[in-house]
Each structure stands twice: as C-alpha cells, then as structure tokens.
C-alpha cells in the first residue's frame, strides 16, 4: 500500500556528496534547490554524504551543493512528475569558499549546538581540544562536553550525566566497543584522523539506540581516499602513530590503516622521576567500496590494548612521595577487538535507504600477573542489524531491527559480587520505528519513536521515545528549543567495585534474573542560540531516573568480595555552554574558545541508605581558549571538577565474631577499616591547567604540525585514588611537559 502512495509524490532529488580529491563522503554539506531565486527545498548530507530532497514539484531548478572550504557546485536540473533524480556530487577544495548557506535542518556540528542531549562531533570540533602529542583525540574533546565526567587523566572511564561507565554505549561503525578509552584518559580508541563524525547522546537518545541506560557515543569512521595515497606520521612520548590511506581500486575501493602506540612508560620515569607505568595502543583499518552507483560496503577493524599499574607513583597519607612503600598494586590490562561490516543500498526508483550491517566485538579485562591473572573477565558479542529509511514527504520514517548475542566469561579467583567463575550468554533483540525530521504545523517538529526490546526469559519491553524541536523567530540570532524523553533498558551490565572510584576492573554479566531489568527514564530540555559575530550558547536541563540498578553492599574490608543489592537512582542537572569562533583578536590574531559548566546531582537509594555514588561530580567547568596568528596557535585549557564522593573512615578497629562462647581474652579479631556512612566525604576538587603551543607549516604536498605543551601547569596534586586501608594516595598526572611532531602527506 505504501509504494503507490510514494510514487504518487512529486519528484525528488537524491545522491551523495563527496570530497572531489579524496572521494570521502562529506557530512553536513548543504544542498539547495532554488526556483526564481528563492529556496524551495534544502537539506544537509548525513554521515555517508547522502541527501534527499523529497516532494519537489515538477519544473526547473538551480541545484547547489556547498560546504565551508569547498567550491560550490551549481547545476540546472529539470524534474518531471514523479521523477527521482540521482546526482552524486564531488566538491573540490577551495579555501576561499566560506559562503555556505545555512539550512534550518543543518546538523549540529560544534558551535554550542546541543540538541536535547545530542551533540554531533566533527573532526574540526575534536581539533579544538589539544592532547599530549601532535594530534587530537575524541576523548580529550568529550571531557569538555557538558555532562561528561572523567575520573581524571587516568583510568579510562567516563560518566555521562550521572550514569555509570557501563551504562554508556560506544559504537564504532555500528558495533559496540566495550572499553572505548585508553588507560591514560586523554586518548580514546578512536584517533581523530579516522573519525568521520561522532554523535554523542548524553541523554534522551532516540529509538534507533538501545541496550544501555545512560548515553550513546556513535562513532563513524571515515573512508580512505579513493584517488591517491596519503598518510601521516606522528611522534610524541605519550602516543606515536602512523596512518596511511589510499585507493585499492581507484574511485571504487579505498583503504585506511592507522596504528598508535604509547611510549610514555619508557620516557617519563627517567625524565621526570615519576612512574607512569602505562602501555597502550590501537590499530584500525577500514575498507570501503562502491559496488555501483547506489550500493556501498565497508568493513572496519579495531584492535586495542592497554596495561598499567594504576597506582603509578605512591604517596603517603600526607601527600609525600613514598618510594619505600611496597608497590603491590596489581597490573590491569584490557583489550578490544572488533570487526564491523556495513552495506547500504538505494533501490532504484524508490525513496528508500537500506542499511544492513553487523559485526563482532570482544573485550578482555584482567588484573594481576599476566601469566596468572587474579581475575579475568571477557565479553564477546555478535550482532546484526537492518535499517530502512523511507523518505515520505516531509517525514522521514526509519525502521529497523537489531539482534545481538553476548557471551560473558569470568574467572575471578575468589568471590566478586556474588560471582566466582562462570560463562553466561544473553540474547537481545530490538525492533524500532521512528520518524526523523517529522514536521508539525508551524515551527514545531515532533519526532516520536518506539522500540520493542526483548531479552531471553523476560517479557518484551516497550521503549517509547519522543523528541521535540522548535525554532522560534526571535529578533536577535537563531534559536532552537528542544526536548526529549525516553525509556531505556539494559540487560547486560558491567559490575565495578563502586565503593572505589579508582577501580577500573569491570565484569560484564547478564542482569540478575531475580531482579527486574535495570531501566532508566530520561527527560532533557534545552535551548541553543546562534548569534552574529561567531557567538553561540546552549543550555540544557536533564533528569534520569534509574530503577533496579545493582550496587555492591558496603564492606569493612579491603577486598572485592561483596554481595549486590538493588538500588534506584536519580541524576539531575543543568548545563551551560558559551562558544566563540573565529573572532578577530589582538594584533591581527584570531580567537576561538568555549566555556562549559555542568551541575549534576546523583542520588542512589538502597533499602538502608541514600547516597551520592562514586561518579557524582556536582560541579564541572571546562574552559578552552585558543588564539592563533601566522600559523602559531596558543591554547589554554582549564578543567575544574568538584571532588568525588568517598567513604570516610573513623579509623581502624578489629571485628570479632562474638558468640556466647567466645573468649574475648584469647580470640583475636580481624583488623578492619571502620567506615563512616558511605560516600559522605568529598575528595579535594580536581583542577588542571594545560597549555599548548602549535606551529603548523604547510608545504606543497605536506603539512607539518609541531606541538609543545605542559600538562598540569601548576603541578597540582589532583587525587586519583586513596586506599583507606593502606592510607596511600595516588595522584593524577603531575607537571609533564610534552612535545610532538606530526607530518601529514596530503
């Protein structure tokens, strides 16, 4: 019944937009149809460079495609009734082209554009936040986003708007990556120069996403150049790497390969006298091929490894270096290995986009000696998905299904949260339907969605989602008001020792059959404003209500042995972000920067107490300021985070199992820490200032970037971990100078 109606629609124009030189898809390019000088239809390309302009009346139009930094494409097209015109457009680079037309539906890339928990991140956004070395990394940028909290500069875990780290879904080309960050938190598993774009949902994600309670980070890797080989090499103590890309079959098949490896473990001990015993790296590859004018296929591969002694350099209780303290903290290791495949097709003559994909992902996590680990945990998943997008009038319907089988295995060398060793599996399936770019009367857009979520042995769950967007006309600037709500479930959960924010060992397990499925309700609302002269601002408020979370009971002993209890939780907060881009500054320089502030309050409630869990960070402030002149850039970044909760101690005593026949004059007790009410104390605030100096030299076919900087300029003793039993503290990164060089062959 649908097809005749579709064919009865007026004409449409669709196709892809690519960079002419590299043949890479261009996301965010503006496509406009004009008639008699007025815009009749407009849209922007998606992550594949795909666009469609539906419901166009028959006639002649000026078709233009534009993107900042590229020459504008113009053509005169004539459309017949019901015609579907396919047009693939190749835009050559043209640095002088800045006159991009802004379309209302333009995707949100950077510039304070946060829409109901969504921020779309382009490589140009990532480049705004330097990290040690000569490149940039998605992890560094994520930590500046409102609502994203990291443990600091080590540990590799992020908490998003009150959720715990296992409630984040990280996807690379549609396949989950279970440990997406390296042990040094400046770096993710995704180098900046393999990212095409990333959609970060900190709350209120739509029906297309599920299986996690808190957030989604959907990273799409870019395709390699299909015209010529190019690459880059970077050398820096923290992380050195190389990338090469090029055509396997010119204009049809491309490959991009990337590898990075840390050197910090070798460099810093002798140089700075402090141990940074971390070794990490990642390898990535992607092959992309056009199978025809309307079909493409890609295969991606990611392999990462991390290991390190999380304690690093120990200090005494009073903050003095303690080289004599036994360094008996075990080594932590984790790895990811993932393969993702994706096939997309535009059926001839039908306004459809069909995507078929799937992949395999495996992550291992262990602690202890490498030849005889104390604890091991593995998660492995196989999945497939099908998405169909129907362009029906002004409404885009997206429907799909997803199937995932997850196997977990763990051997814990003693009990860990009711667990010992086991192998379990869980099968999840979801189907969803949502409207995209739905449009109601006036300026209000309503995007409802619904998913059915099924896990073995449990009833099917309904997951309704709703997003609202309005663009009111106000006298100054362009404004968007948006809101989103949704219900979420998670059936495979990661268990950490939540008593201790320094704990990074995670065991993934299916949610306990005896408990209801963990769930969350999100509600988020916000405003985004763009103003003349490069200013932007965004504000959001959010609330997440969690149900049936599994949290550990609180032990008086320094072991991982503990049982679980059920908890409900509430996370609520507000964000504010101010953004300045490309403003003229003193002495002919330009200025660029942003300020983001987040207030978050997270409360967990068990049967016996209410507390702020270990990821609760009430205030977080990020300031990034960058100025540039004559190819020399200076960046200063200030991060401030109020102290994480921790459980204070009344001191040490002994515990005695007192029975009526116990002889207290003879029987010794067990030494214990006498904990106070859990998480009532607060760690000192986290604060760090980094400064960076960049120099970029452009040659005919190459670009050289040199970056020198200092991490923790004031050498502040930011606490990472405090062991209440041994009274030892571990601090975050000290003052560390860094230098790196990157050479890119263009």
């Amino acid at each position: 019944m649908l097809l005749p109606e579709v064919y009865s629609q007026p004409a449409s124009v669709r196709g892809f937009v690519f960079e002419a030189e590299s043949r890479r898809p261009l996301q965010g390019a503006t496509i406009v149809l004009r008639s008699a000088g007025e815009i009749r239809r407009g849209t922007v390309t998606d992550g594949d460079g795909y666009f469609i302009l539906p419901r166009v009346g028959p006639g002649s139009y000026d078709l233009t495609a534009s993107f900042v930094g590229f020459a504008t494409y113009r053509d005169l097209v004539t459309l017949g009734a019901g015609e579907v015109l396919e047009r693939n457009i190749y835009l050559p680079e043209s640095p002088g082209s800045l006159d991009e037309v802004v379309i209302e539906e333009q995707l949100d890339t950077g510039f304070a554009d946060v829409k109901a928990g969504l921020q779309s991140v382009a490589p140009t956004d990532v480049q705004r936040v330097p990290v040690p070395g000569a490149g940039t990394d998605l992890a560094g940028y994520l930590q500046t986003l409102p609502g994203v909290v990291s443990q600091g500069d080590r540990g590799g875990q992020l908490f998003v708007r009150g959720g715990s780290s296992d409630q984040n879904l990280a996807l690379l080309d549609g396949v989950p990556i279970y440990q997406p960050f390296h042990i040094v938190s400046f770096f993710s598993a995704f180098p900046e120069d393999i990212i095409d774009h990333a959609d970060i949902y900190t709350a209120g994600f739509g029906a297309a996403y599920g299986t996690r309670l808190s957030s989604v980070m959907d990273v799409t890797a870019r395709n390699g150049s299909k015209q010529r080989f190019r690459g880059s090499v970077s050398v820096a103590p923290f992380l050195s790497g190389a990338r090469i890309e090029g055509p396997l079959i010119p204009d049809r098949v491309s490959v991009v390969l990337s590898a990075r490896q840390s050197l910090v473990e070798e460099v810093t001990p002798n140089f700075l006298g402090q141990k940074l015993p971390y070794r990490f790296g990642d390898r990535f590859g992607k092959i992309h091929a056009f199978l025809g004018p309307r079909q493409s296929v890609s295969i991606s591969f990611l392999d990462t490894d991390d290991k390190g002694d999380i304690a690093g350099t120990l200090k005494t209780f009073d903050g003095e270096f303690a080289p004599d303290l036994p360094d008996d903290d075990p080594e932590v290791r984790w790895s990811n290995r993932a393969v993702a495949a994706r096939y997309s097709m535009l059926p001839r003559g039908a306004p459809l986009l069909i995507e078929l994909g799937g992949g395999h992902s495996r992550s291992e996590n262990e602690i202890g000696a490498s030849d005889n680990p104390e604890r091991q945990a593995t998660i492995e998943s196989l999945e497939g998905y099908l998405k169909v997008t129907v362009f029906a009038g002004t409404t885009e319907l997206r429907a799909g299904g997803q199937w995932r089988k997850t196997d977990v295995e763990f051997a814990l060398g003693g009990q860990f949260q009711n667990l010992d060793s086991s192998a379990e599996d869980e099968t999840e399936s979801r189907v969803f339907l949502e409207t995209v770019h739905g449009r109601a009367a006036g300026a209000l857009r309503i995007n409802p969605g619904l998913a059915l979520y099924n896990t073995a042995g449990r009833p099917i769950r309904l997951e309704p989602r709703l997003r609202l967007t309005a663009s009111p006309s106000l006298p100054y600037g362009a404004h968007t008001i948006n809101a989103a709500v949704g219900l979420y479930h998670q059936s495979v959960v990661g268990l950490n020792d939540e008593r201790d924010v320094g704990s990074i060992f995670t065991v993934w397990v299916p949610a306990a059959d005896s408990l209801d499925l963990p769930s969350a309700i999100h509600a988020v609302a916000g405003w985004t404003g763009r103003f003349p002269n490069g200013f932007g601002a965004a504000a959001e408020v959010f609330v997440k209500e969690f149900r049936e979370l599994s949290v550990p009971e609180f032990s008086a002993f320094p072991s991982f042995t503990t049982t679980l209890q059920s908890a409900d939780g509430t996370a609520l907060g507000a964000d504010l972000r101010l953004d300045i881009r490309g403003r003229p500054f003193v002495a002919g320089s330009t200025f660029d920067g942003f300020v983001s502030y987040t207030f978050t309050d997270v409360q967990y409630r068990t049967a016996t107490l209410s507390y702020n869990p270990s990821q609760h960070r009430k205030h977080q402030l990020n300031v990034v300021a960058h100025t540039e002149r004559n190819g020399v850039g200076f960046t200063i970044q200030w991060q401030y985070g109020s102290g994480f909760p921790f459980t204070e101690s009344a001191g040490f005593d002994e515990f005695q199992v007192l029975g009526p026949t116990t002889d207290v004059t003879k029987e010794p007790g067990i030494t214990r820490v006498l904990y106070d009410t859990p998480f009532r104390g607060r760690q000192p605030a986290y604060e760090r200032i980094d400064v960076w100096l960049d120099k970029e030299v452009s040659l005919e076919r190459a670009r050289v970037t040199i970056r020198a900087g200092i991490i923790n300029l004031f050498n502040r003793d930011n606490l990472f971990y405090f062991d209440l039993f041994t009274l030892r503290r571990v601090d975050q990164m000290p003052f560390i100078p860094s230098v790196g060089i990157k050479v890119e062959v263009l």
């Binding site: 609180f554 032990s555 016996t608 204070e648 005593d653 007192l658 007790g669 859990p678």
Partner: protein, 301 residues
C-alpha cells in the same frame, strides 16, 4: 572590542590561577569522627567474673606485640551501671595475650548479674569522650515455663517436643532427669544431665522448640545411674536448663558475612563506637512425669 576579548581571556584565566594557588589538595580520610572505642563482650548471669575487650578506634591498626608499644597504652576507664539499682562498678584493665601472640586491652569486673536488669557499659576517655552500650539481661519473668507436648512413641522409640517461651535463641540446652530408686542406693535420688547444645529453632509461635530423644537419654541414664540389680528406677521429674542470649544478639550473630559489616545498618549496640556488648540468661524449669505408660516404655517406673 579587542580589549573586551583580552579581558575575557584574563577573566577566565585568573580564577583558575587563584584556585591553583589557594585550594587545598590534601585528603584527611578520618573525618568520620564521633566513634571512640570498639567493645566486645557479654554479661552472664551464670558467672560472677565478666570480661570485655576494648579497642580504641585509631588512625593505625591495633596490633600490640609488646607492652612497651604505644598502642599498649589505653586512655580509657570502664564503668558498668545497673540501671535498675543504680549500682556502679569500675572495671580493671589488663593486657591479655591472645592466641596469636598479640596483646589486647581486656577489662574485667567481679559482680553478680541479675536477670531482667539493664546494664550500661561506659568506656570513657580522659577528655570525657565516651562510647557506651546498654544490654538487658534476658528476662525470666517472660518465660512462663516450657510447653511440653505429649510424647510420641514409635516402634519403641520415644520423643517429646519442648517449647520455651520468651527465649529468642538458646545456645546451650541441657535436659535434666530426676530419678530415684526408692532410697535403696540413692538416698537423695540422682540428677542426670543430657547435653543438647544449640538444638532447636524458633517455631511458628516464636518459641524456641527442640525435641528430646527420650529413648536415647533413658538408655544413657540406666547405664549411668548405679543401683542395685533388680531395682527399677523411678523417673520423677524432668527439666530443661537453657542458656540464651539477649534479644539484640541474634541480629548481630546472624551477620556472619564479614564483608557486610561495613554496611550502614550493620548491627552494633555501642553508641559512639562499634562492637557489641551482650548478655546471657539462664533458665531452668522442671515438670513432673506422670505418664506411666511412657515411663514403662523407657524402662522406668
């Protein structure tokens, strides 16, 4: 406009620098104050000497290996007060060697403990800070006597259920048998005690219920009590002696998972401190055995 931008940057940087300069980065994990001593021990109505172990809650673990060590000194005095009579007793301090060779602070007192009375134990530091606990010695008055079910005889084996009212948990049960031989060899008769340990459980009515193996006990009695051959012993009375802990104690003792004891709500009855001070009651009651048929089955008259 440019000056405005410069001011903006300076404005952003200055607060951070000032925070770097002045904000404290130290962490004192011992701010959870208000708890001074951990106390373990109990008062027992069956004893006249009572002991408590007192552990000062300190910033370092208490492991005293020699009397000369700093932790061997304790700034504490211990008093007990009978809250019903107001009688106050000071406890003596001693360092006692534990089975692992380390030393512990032990306080002892000589006094009689009365059932139904409440006692407050106070551990007082020289600056006045104190930890205290109140224990109520199990009441005899609430124990209205055992409810003894009719004996059950099955294939020459006899059993009898006994229900103790007002006893939340008995840990030491003895069944008492009063027998006589008519004054032939036992002019005052004989009492035979049969140990049942912690037998039994709480029944649906909240009573401590256990079962007496009458046949086994009778065989042991007939073997134990020496009288003239040909004399049949008379079973005159039976009784039960139960020792049981106060009402607070089972909640503490049931938390056998050591790792849960840091959980708020973990049981301690020590105010401004930790640990547990309990008390033990003793209950003894007799009843006449009137069932001649049962006596015959057991070999008595």
């Amino acid at each position: 406009m440019r000056h405005l931008h410069a001011c903006l940057i300076i404005g952003l940087c200055l607060p951070s620098i000032s925070c770097e300069t002045f904000e404290d980065t130290t962490l004192d994990p011992f701010r959870g104050q208000g708890r001074y001593y951990t106390v373990y021990g109990f008062l027992d109505v069956a004893e006249t000497e009572h002991v408590l172990r007192v552990i000062p809650i300190r910033r370092t673990p208490e492991e005293i290996t020699a009397p000369s060590e700093a932790n061997a000194f304790i700034d504490a005095v211990v008093w007990s007060t009978d809250l019903d009579t107001g009688r106050r007793v000071g406890w003596r301090h001693d360092l006692s060697q534990l089975s692992d060779g380390t030393l512990a602070h032990i306080y002892s007192a000589s006094m009689r403990i009365e059932a139904d009375h409440a006692y407050r134990i106070e551990v007082i530091r020289s600056d006045g800070a104190q930890s205290s606990a109140v224990t109520v010695v199990p009441s005899l008055s609430t124990s209205i006597g055992p409810v003894v079910d009719p004996a059950v005889v099955f294939q020459s084996e006899a059993f009898q259920k006994v229900h103790l009212t007002g006893v939340p948990r008995a840990f030491d049960i003895t069944v008492l048998y009063e027998v006589s031989d008519g004054g032939v060899s036992l002019p005052h008769g004989a009492r035979v005690e049969r140990e049942y340990g912690a037998a039994g459980a709480v029944d649906a009515d909240g009573r401590w219920s256990f079962e007496i193996d009458l046949s086994r006990d009778a065989a042991a009695i007939l073997e134990t009590v020496m009288t003239d051959p040909g004399v049949v012993l008379e079973l005159e009375e039976m009784g039960v002696r139960a020792r049981w802990v106060d009402e607070q104690w089972p909640a503490f003792a049931d938390r056998t998972d050591l790792n849960l004891l840091g959980q708020p709500g973990g049981v301690s009855n020590v105010e401004n401190g930790d640990g547990f001070v309990g008390s033990i009651g003793t209950y003894t009651r007799f009843w006449r055995v009137e069932d001649a048929e049962l006596k015959a089955v057991l070999g008595f008259r």
